[in-house]
Structure formats: C-alpha cells, structure tokens
C-alpha cells in the first residue's frame, strides 16, 4: 500500500510556544510524546521498587525492609509498571502512529485526548502517595496486599488504600477515554478507500485492545468502588460477616485482570507486525488469520479469568471449564507467534536492533506461554500457585510480550519521531545486556518456585539462597541497563544524524511517506491510496 502524496506540507502554523504547547496540547504527536515520557519516568520508578525488592531477597532473613514495607513495594512495583509504564507507553505509540498510519490529520477527539493524558500525572501522584503516606504519622498501615488487592486484607489496610482506589479510578477513566478516542479515530478517520481489512496490524491490535479496555476496566472500577464502600460506608459486598463474599472481589478483579494481560501484549504484538516484515523484506504472513486470532483472543480471553483462582474451591465442573478454556486461548496466541515466524521464513533478514528484539521476543514469549500452560493445568497449579514459578511465568510473558515489544517500537520509530538516527552500536549493547540479564534474573525463579519458594514473602528458606543471589545480581544489571536506554534516547535527540524519510529500506506504510520528523500537522489532506 503506497501512497501518492501530493502536498501535505501545510505548515501554516507550527506549534505554540512554551508551556502552553504541552498543557493545552491537542496535537497527537505532542500528546504521544508526553505519554511516552511519562511512561519512561514510571518505568524508572517501578524499576527502583524492583531493585529494593531484589536487594531484600539477595539473602535470606530480614535485611533492609520490614515485611509490610516489602509487600507494599511488591504492590507498588506491579501497579507502577502495568498502569504507569506499559499502558501509557502503548497509548503513546497509538497516539503517535495511528493517525500517521491511517492517513488522518489527528485523533478524532483532540480535546478528550488532552484530558486522557493529563489525568495520568494526577493518577500517578495518587499512586505514589498511596505508597508514601504510611511513612507519615497517622498515615495508617502499608498496602501489603499485592496488586490484586484481595479483601479482607484490603479492607483492613489504612488510608493509603483510599489513595490507591482513587488512583485506580483515575487511571481507569484515562484509559477508557483514550480507548474511546482510538476507536472513534479508527472507525471514522481512515484515509478514503482504506478498508478495515487494509489497516496495518498495529492499528488492528489497538482497535481490539481499546475494546478490551472499555469492556473490562469499568468492571475493575466497580470492584474497587465496592471495596471503598465496604471500607467506609458499612456495606458488605465482600464482608463475610455481613453476608458478602470476599471471593466475589476475586472474580471481579480477574474478570479485569486476565483480559488485562492481553491489553498489555497486543499493542506490542502490533509493533512486531510492523517490524518483522520490514527486516525480513517480505509481506506479513497471514494478515487475515492475525486479525481473526486477536479477535478470538479478545472473546475467549474474557471468559477464562478463574484460572487465577483454582485454589478457592470451585467445583470440578467449573475448574475443568476454566482449565480447558485457558489452554484453548494458547492456540490463537500461538497462531500470532507462528505468523511472525512464517513471515521470517526464507526472508532476507537483517538484524538491526528492532529485529533483534523481535526475534528474542518470539523465543522468550513462547517459553512463557509454555509455563502458562503448565499453570493452566489444575492439579499442577495447586502446587505452583503463589510460588515464584508464577512470578517467573508472568515475567517471561510480560517483559518480552509487552515491555521489550515497546522497546523494539521505540528503536523502530524513534528516527521517525525525532528525525534522528539512534546509535546502532550502543543499541545493540543495550539489547544484549538487557536480554541476557533478564533471562539470568528470571530463569532461576522457575527452579526455586518449583522447589517451593512462595511469592510475596520477604524471607525465604536458606536452601533457596544460591538462586536468589544469581537472580538479584542479574536484576541489578538488568535495572542499570535501562540507564543506557535513557542515554541512547537522549543521545539520539541531541546528536543523532539525520534520518531518511523511509528510515528502513524494507519499511512499508503511510507513516514512511512523511518526512522524518513529520510536520506538526500531517495528512491535512488525506493521502490517496495506490491500489
């Protein structure tokens, strides 16, 4: 799909100057940039909490953290990474790329776009306050529940939990607004003649993700609202003594929580669908089956949530259903992986950094999928549940599946966004340290998990020491490697050499028809699609 662009250089007015440009921005590129910067800041904060966790776990016994503080860090780490880093980064990419890819001048609802971004710093502040408040006199107890916030414990936590509940409300509102905006854009703003089935897969993944967000985030909001009511207004949604049921919260949480994992990976899979064909110099294999696969993931993904709750005592019929459903989902997920592999098959591949990430992602994500299938098997999960094995599983799917995919996207599109090429040598050093230290951090956790080390506990049996030492040391390298990422990004913006319009020789799509960086207002006249 190439575009014959006649004139799109309508730079009548550039960006406004100073703070107003950002505060009142309705420009999808500026808002996308702000999302990405916000996500990067949150990545470092979430990383800092992870470093503290690994420092404590370096040795058995209690060294530097109180048990409640340790658990508060675990909670905080998960929420910062999921809601602060991955989701905003993916939203930033959507903002930047969707209008460029579908030939739209901007997002459909630019003011709402401004709102959905500017809610985030407020929500992030609330989230961080929920961690900080217990350090002050009268601040109550730490949030020691983990990110799942199960009652009754979450009803007993001090007022920091109220900060967290409001933070979740705000984050939810922000992502629902952003999702509405994305769907309205995709449905109404495509260049004339671009059918849904001709959109780049990245746009498709975001369409599905946005629907998922609208379907499940409000349910989480409802769940935490009930939590708030139970805490302060004497209701008994989750109070056994008043006729409620704490397990109901688990159902509400996982009704959101399981689809959420697809919300986290789908945009990154969309990025892979752009990267893999470019560096294989072949068209994407099986476009239709990718679209079908992700719709199947969305539908089935919404009805398998209770595989996180096998141990609550469901009937045999219920656990069997959830087990089979969970295993079935791995079919469309696997299909997407196989499509990318088939795209590489017999292609003339080169391994620039985005492609290195793509190949590594497919390998490591598939491994995480396999441990997922182990966990899906009910009798096995009775043993693995709440062990470090689960921690290893979800880091193997989440880091490659979501985070590394975003890194790949940053390297792939950074030249387009900034107009400058990044330093390929540094980027390759970053790739190798990042991926090797990631594996050294999380691979040992499979073994200690299988051997019985529970998760979310500050201390452990001395027999687990060696693997925890390896895991911690590698984690410090992994954490520090992100400073290199930060350096590469700053270096690119400051000193990178001018990038070509079509940055990568094999790249296809409307975004490459525009100059690098694209003008402040792009596609003010819709591109004409060549058939």
């Amino acid at each position: 799909m190439t575009a014959i662009t006649l004139d799109h250089e309508h730079e009548h007015h550039g960006p406004p100057h100073g703070l107003r440009r950002w505060l009142f921005s309705t420009n999808h590129k500026d808002i996308g940039t702000m999302y990405l910067i916000f996500a990067l800041i949150m990545l470092f904060m979430g990383g800092a909490s992870a470093m503290l966790i690994r420092m404590e776990l370096f040795m058995p016994g209690l060294q530097l953290l109180e048990p409640d503080l340790y658990n508060n860090l675990v909670t905080n780490h998960a929420l910062l990474m999921i809601f602060g880093a991955v989701m905003p980064a993916a939203a930033g990419m959507a903002n930047w790329m969707i209008p460029l890819m579908i030939g739209a001048p901007d997002m459909a609802l630019p003011r709402m776009n401004n709102l959905s971004f500017w809610i985030l710093p407020a929500a992030g502040t609330m989230l961080i306050l929920s961690f900080v408040v217990p350090f002050f006199p009268g601040g109550g107890t730490q949030i020691n529940t983990g990110w799942t916030l199960y009652p009754p414990l979450s009803i007993q936590v001090g007022m920091s939990m109220d900060f967290l509940i409001f933070a979740i409300h705000l984050l939810g509102i922000s992502s629902v607004l952003a999702s509405i905006n994305i769907i309205v854009t995709i449905f109404n703003m495509r260049a004339p003649g671009m059918k849904l089935m001709q959109m780049p897969i990245f746009v498709w993944t975001w369409l599905v993700t946005a629907f998922l967000l609208i379907l499940v985030v409000p349910v989480l909001a409802g769940g935490v609202t009930m939590l708030l009511f139970d805490r302060h207004f004497g209701t008994s949604f989750f109070n056994a003594a008043g006729g409620g049921d704490p397990v109901l919260f688990q159902h509400l949480f996982w009704f959101f929580g399981h689809p959420e994992v697809y919300i986290l990976i789908l945009p990154s899979f969309g990025i892979l669908a752009a990267i893999v064909p470019t560096f294989s110099r072949k068209p994407l294999f099986g476009y239709n089956s990718l679209v079908g696969g992700m719709i199947a993931i969305m539908v089935i993904g919404m009805v398998v949530w209770a595989h996180h709750q096998y141990t609550i005592g469901m009937s045999l019929g219920a656990v069997s259903y959830f087990m089979i459903g969970t295993i079935i989902i791995s079919i469309p997920v696997g299909l997407m992986v196989f499509n990318y592999m088939a795209t590489m098959w017999k292609g003339s591949m080169t391994f620039e950094t985005p492609m290195l990430f793509a190949v590594a992602i497919l390998l490591m994500f598939s491994f995480g999928g396999l441990t997922g299938i182990m966990l899906a098997v009910v009798p096995a999960d009775m043993q693995y549940h709440d062990s470090m094995f689960v921690v290893a599983h979800f880091h193997y799917v989440l880091l490659p599946g979501a985070v590394f995919g975003l890194f790949a996207g940053v390297f792939y599109w950074l030249p387009k966004w900034t107009g400058h090429m990044y330093n390929e040598r540094l980027a390759k050093i970053f790739f190798w340290t990042n991926v090797i230290s990631f594996n050294a951090t999380f691979f040992p956790q499979h073994f200690i998990g299988l051997a019985g080390m529970p998760r979310r506990i500050v201390d452990y049996n001395v027999m687990f020491t060696e693997f925890n030492v390896i895991s911690s040391l590698a984690a410090f390298v992994f954490g520090l490697s992100h400073l290199l990422l930060l350096y590469i990004i700053i270096d690119t913006i400051r000193r990178g050499k001018q990038a070509k319009d079509r940055v990568w020789e094999g790249a296809e799509g409307l975004e490459w028809e525009l100059p690098s960086p694209p003008p402040y207002h792009s596609w003010t006249t819709a591109p004409v699609l060549a058939r």
Partner: protein, 190 residues
C-alpha cells in the same frame, strides 16, 4: 462543509455508544453481586451452603453395603476476629464419626468483656473436596449470636458426613471464623 459536519456527527455517534458501553460494563460489575450468588446456585459451583444440600441428598442416596462401616476423623477449629473479645472452644478437639450417622459436638462460647456483643461465625470445611459431603443440621453459625457481658453459653453443632465422601479423604476439619458485628455490619477492623 457539510462533509465535515457529517464527520462530526459520525464521530459523536461512535463516541456515545462507546461511552454507554463503558457505563454498561460499570453497571455489569455491580450486577455481578446478585448474579454471582445466582450463578453459583444454579450451576452448583462452589458455595458451601449450596453444596451442603447436595451432601444431604447424597447422605440418603448413598446407602451401599459397607458404607456405614467407614469412619473418619473430624477436627474442629475456631478463629476469633481480633476485635472480638470472645472465645469459642469445642468440648473435644477431634472426634471419630461413622459416615451417615448424625453427631453432636458442644462448643463453649464465652464473652470476656463486660458489654453485650453480637458476632457471626462463618464455617468452612477443609479439604474443600469434602464440602459437598458434610452437612450441618444444627449450628450456631446459622444465625447471629449475642452474648451478654461475661456470659458463658453452650452451643451445639449437629452434623452428618455423607457415606459418599470420596474414599481418599479420611480426615476433615470444620473451621469457624468468628467476626464481630456492629449494627448489622462487620466492625471496621482497625
């Protein structure tokens, strides 16, 4: 010009139905509260109470030869909520019971404070696989209990273990979590 007005209308229409969808899902979360109990009852998923019905059904149905000869150990356990200055202890920590036979154990409850306090006991069975096969015919957990200041009271529990209890289970535990009620709701735990 009319084309842009048209685009505006289309955008607004999509926006509204998506907004309604989001609101609907928020409502769905709350609708889960009644639906949840309903689904559990209809499908027989989980729910200790619903399952004890099943147990009663099976207690009469399962009268195979030799079934009456099986014995299991039933242990008792109670946990008081930190806010509740009570103790509730079984007269015997564990007993051997014959399947299909109804037995009574007495629990002694005592209020250690000088005020009258209402509490509610929540029963559970371990292992959970035994849930459907243990039925309580009489229990202080069926209703709220009020103990006057320093009152001491005997509270009997009558139960039957179904002869259909899966053969691999030879011991089970009946456990009570007892919570304090204030004005019909659980006391704030702080």
């Amino acid at each position: 010009m009319s084309e842009t007005a048209d685009l505006g209308r289309r955008k607004r229409r999509t926006m509204w139905w998506l907004g309604l969808l989001a609101l609907g899902m928020f409502g769905f979360g709350f609708a889960m509260v009644p639906l949840y109990g309903l689904i559990c009852n209809v499908t027989g998923m989980q729910s200790v109470d619903g399952m004890s019905d099943l147990g009663r059904r099976m207690a009469t149905a399962g009268e195979g030869p030799g079934a009456e000869e099986r014995w299991v150990t039933v242990k008792f356990d109670t946990t008081m909520h930190p806010e509740l200055p009570w103790s509730i202890n079984p007269m015997e920590g564990k007993i051997r019971v014959r399947l299909g036979e109804s037995r009574v154990v007495n629990f002694v409850a005592e209020n250690h404070s000088s005020q009258s306090i209402t509490g509610q006991a929540i029963p559970s069975i371990a292992p959970w696989q035994a849930n459907g096969f243990f039925s309580k015919l009489e229990c202080f957990c069926f209703s709220q209990q009020t103990l006057a200041g320093n009152e001491r009271k005997d509270m009997p529990v009558r139960f039957v273990v179904s002869p259909d209890l899966p053969p691999e289970i030879d011991s089970l535990t009946l456990s009570y979590n007892v919570m304090r009620l204030q004005g019909g709701t659980l006391a704030a735990a702080q």
